[in-house]
C-alpha cells in the first residue's frame, strides 16, 4: 500500500487546554480508516487539523508525500481532499441542485482555471448532466428544487456527500457521517458510503460513534483517548486490545 497521509508529532492546544499531544497518524491509500474515542478525546480536533480547518501548534502533515502542514483548507482540497462536517454544511438558500452545480463548477475552476468562471445564465449542459448523475446515484431525486435548508437531516447529509464526491477527491473525510440518524437511516448510509468508496476507489477517513457503522465500514481502526492514540490496527484486533477495553468498558 502507498501512504495517503502521514501526520507526525501533532500538537494542538485551545488556550491552556492541550487537546492533541504528539499524535502520529498514518493513512494508507485505499483503506477505510475510522477514528473512535470517548467524547472529548480529540477526534474532531484531529479531523480539523488534518483537513486544514484548524492550524496545528506543532508537527507535520504530508499528503501523498507532499508537505501540506502550512496549507489552508482550500489548498488541501485542491490537492485531493474532500470532507463533510458533523452538522452538514450546505448552502441553505440554494436548491439542492444548485448546491451540486456550485460544487462541480468549483472543481472545474480548480482543473481548468478561470476560463470556466464566466458564462451566461445557465450552467453548462455537461455540468448539469454530472449533477443529475450524482442526484440519481445518491438517491436525492424528488426535492431537488426546494431550498436546501428545507431538506431532512438525512438528505442534507446525503447532499453534502454528493458535493464532496463532485470534487472527485482521492481522500474523503467524513466527520460522524451518521450523527443524529435513525437506525434504518444508518444502515442505508453505511451501504451508500461503502458503495461510493468501491466505485470511486476512495480512501476514507471517518470519525464515528456508532459501533455498527464502525465495524460495517472500517478496514482499520484507531482509538484516541485524552488526545493520544492508544491503539491502531485491524478492527477485530483493536476490539480485543486490553487498553481499549479499559477505556471503553472500565475493565481491568
Amino acid at each position: 500500500m502507498t501512504r495517503m497521509m502521514e501526520a507526525r508529532g501533532i500538537h494542538k492546544s485551545y488556550g491552556p487546554v492541550r487537546v492533541l499531544e504528539d499524535v502520529d497518524f498514518d493513512l494508507e491509500a485505499g483503506e477505510a480508516h475510522v477514528v473512535i474515542g470517548p467524547n472529548g478525546a480529540g477526534k474532531t480536533t484531529l479531523f480539523r487539523c488534518l483537513s486544514g480547518e484548524s492550524r496545528i501548534d506543532g508537527g507535520t502533515i504530508t499528503l501523498a508525500g507532499e508537505d501540506i502542514t502550512g496549507l489552508a483548507g482550500w489548498q488541501r482540497v485542491k490537492r485531493g481532499i474532500g470532507r463533510s462536517f458533523q452538522v452538514a454544511r450546505i448552502f441553505p438558500d440554494m436548491s439542492a441542485f444548485e448546491n451540486l452545480i456550485v460544487a462541480i463548477e468549483t472543481r472545474e475552476r480548480v482543473d481548468k482555471g478561470l476560463k470556466s468562471t464566466f458564462g451566461l445564465v445557465a450552467p453548462r449542459a455537461a455540468v448539469r448532466g454530472e449533477a443529475e448523475d450524482l442526484v440519481v446515484e445518491l438517491g436525492l431525486e424528488g426535492r431537488l428544487d426546494e431550498p436546501a435548508s428545507t431538506l431532512s437531516h438525512g438528505d442534507k447529509k446525503r447532499l453534502e456527500l454528493a458535493m464532496s464526491l463532485a470534487l472527485k477527491p482521492k481522500l474523503l473525510m467524513l466527520d460522524e457521517p451518521t450523527a443524529g440518524m435513525s437506525q434504518s437511516d444508518r444502515a442505508e448510509a453505511v451501504r451508500l458510503i461503502a458503495q461510493v468508496r468501491e466505485k470511486y476507489g476512495l480512501t476514507l477517513l471517518l470519525t464515528e460513534h456508532d459501533m455498527e457503522v464502525v465495524f460495517g465500514l472500517a478496514t482499520r481502526l484507531t482509538v484516541l483517548h485524552h488526545g493520544a492514540i492508544i491503539a491502531s490496527g485491524e478492527p477485530h484486533k483493536v476490539r480485543a486490545d486490553a487498553r481499549v477495553r479499559e477505556v471503553y468498558l472500565g475493565q481491568h
Binding site: 482550500w74 448552502f91 451566461l120
Partner: protein, 339 residues
C-alpha cells in the same frame, strides 16, 4: 429542474419595462423631475453594486461613498484638466480609480476584519477619503469642482452631442442599462453562483476548494469599480463634483435602497432606489420628513419584512398561487430567488 430560460425571460421583461418607463419619462415630466430620474437611474446601479457585496459575499460596506466620490472626482479632474481626452477615457479612468481604491483598502480590511469590524473599517476609510478631498486644493477643497462640461462624443463619421441635459439623461439610461445587464449576467455565471455560496456558508465554500478571501476581494474591487463608474457618469450630468458625495451619508444610500427593495432579489436595490427618490421628492417641502419616513420604513422592513418590499410582494404572490393552485408545481420562492 430550475427553468433557467424562464428566469432569463422574466428578468429581461423587467429590464425592458424599466427601460421603456425611463425612456418615456421626459415626455410627461418637467426638467427638474427628469434630472431626478437621471439620478435615480445612477442610484439603481450604485445600489446593485453594493448588493453584489452584501448579498454576494456577505460583506457589509459602510463606505461606498469613497468609490462613488473617487469615480466622480477622477472624471471631474479629467474633464477640467485634460479636455482633449475622449469622454470614454474619463469614464474608464473614473471606474479604475474606484477599483484601485477598493483594491488597496479591501486588501487591508479583509486581512483581519469581518462583520461589524469590516463595516466600521470601511466607514473610517471612506471618511479618510472625504477629509482628503475637503483639504486638497487640487480637488477644490470644500467648494468642490464646478463647471464640468458635458461631452460631444466623436465617432469619426458622426458625433453624438450630449451637451444638453436631456441628451445626457438618455446616455445615462443606456449606460446604466448596460452595466445592470452585465451585473445580472455576472450574478448568474459560475462566478456569481460561487459568490452567493460564499455568503451562505464561507466554510463550506472553502472546503470545496475556493480561496474565500481572494474572492471577497475580487467582489469588493468589482463593486468599487461599478460604484465609481456610477460617480463618473453622474458628474457631467450634475456638472459639479462636491465633497458631499464623499460624506458617509452617501455610503448609507445604497444600503437604504437595497434593504427597502429587498436584498434577496437582484432588482431589490432598483425598487428601493425608485422608492427612495419618490419619497425624497414627495417630502421635499418639509425638512426632516424625508429622513423620518425613510427611517421608519427601513425599521419596518428590518423588523417586519426582512425580505424587503420585493420579497414581501413576491412571497404574497407565491402564497396566493399556492392557495388557488394555479401555479405550477415547481416552487416559486426558490426559482425566483436572486434571479
Amino acid at each position: 429542474m430550475i427553468d433557467y430560460r424562464r428566469r432569463m425571460r422574466a428578468n429581461l421583461a423587467i429590464a425592458v419595462i424599466g427601460l421603456v418607463l425611463f425612456a418615456v419619462f421626459p415626455l410627461v415630466a418637467n426638467s427638474g423631475l427628469v434630472f431626478l430620474a437621471g439620478l435615480v437611474a445612477v442610484n439603481i446601479v450604485f445600489g446593485l453594486s453594493w448588493n453584489l457585496l452584501f448579498s454576494g459575499v456577505g460583506l457589509l460596506s459602510f463606505g461606498h461613498a469613497m468609490f462613488f466620490a473617487g469615480g466622480a472626482y477622477a472624471m471631474a479632474v479629467v474633464s477640467l484638466r485634460l479636455p482633449d481626452l475622449p469622454f470614454a477615457g474619463g469614464l474608464l479612468l473614473g471606474a479604475m480609480t474606484g477599483g484601485i481604491i477598493a483594491l488597496v483598502f479591501g486588501y487591508i480590511a479583509l486581512r483581519r476584519a469581518s462583520g461589524v469590524y469590516f463595516a466600521v473599517l470601511t466607514l473610517a476609510f471612506s471618511e479618510l477619503v472625504h477629509i482628503v478631498i475637503t483639504k486638497t486644493t487640487f480637488l477644490g477643497r470644500n467648494d468642490g469642482l464646478v463647471g464640468i462640461p458635458r461631452p460631444v462624443i466623436n465617432l469619426g463619421v458622426a458625433s453624438i452631442d450630449l451637451t444638453s441635459a436631456l441628451a445626457y439623461y438618455y446616455f445615462i439610461i443606456v449606460a446604466m442599462a448596460v452595466v445592470a445587464f452585465a451585473l445580472w449576467s455576472f450574478q448568474n455565471s459560475p462566478a456569481g453562483r460561487l459568490i452567493q455560496a460564499i455568503r451562505q456558508d464561507p466554510v463550506r465554500t472553502a472546503f470545496l476548494g475556493t480561496d474565500v478571501r481572494s474572492w471577497q476581494l475580487t467582489a469588493f474591487v468589482l463593486s468599487g469599480t461599478i460604484a465609481a463608474f456610477c460617480g463618473a457618469v453622474m458628474v457631467p450630468f450634475a456638472q459639479i463634483a462636491s465633497p458631499e458625495i464623499a460624506y458617509w451619508t452617501v455610503s448609507t444610500e445604497p444600503i437604504l435602497f437595497t434593504l427597502l427593495g429587498g436584498a434577496g432579489h437582484f432588482w431589490g436595490p432598483a425598487v428601493g432606489a425608485i422608492l427612495f427618490g419618490a419619497i425624497d421628492y414627495a417630502t421635499r417641502a418639509l425638512y426632516g420628513l424625508s429622513e423620518i419616513t425613510v427611517g421608519m420604513l427601513l425599521l419596518g422592513v428590518v423588523l417586519l419584512m426582512p425580505g424587503g418590499l420585493l420579497g414581501f410582494l413576491l412571497s404574497r404572490r407565491t402564497a396566493a398561487r399556492r392557495l388557488t393552485g394555479s401555479g405550477k408545481r415547481v416552487p416559486m420562492a426558490n426559482a425566483e430567488k436572486a434571479t
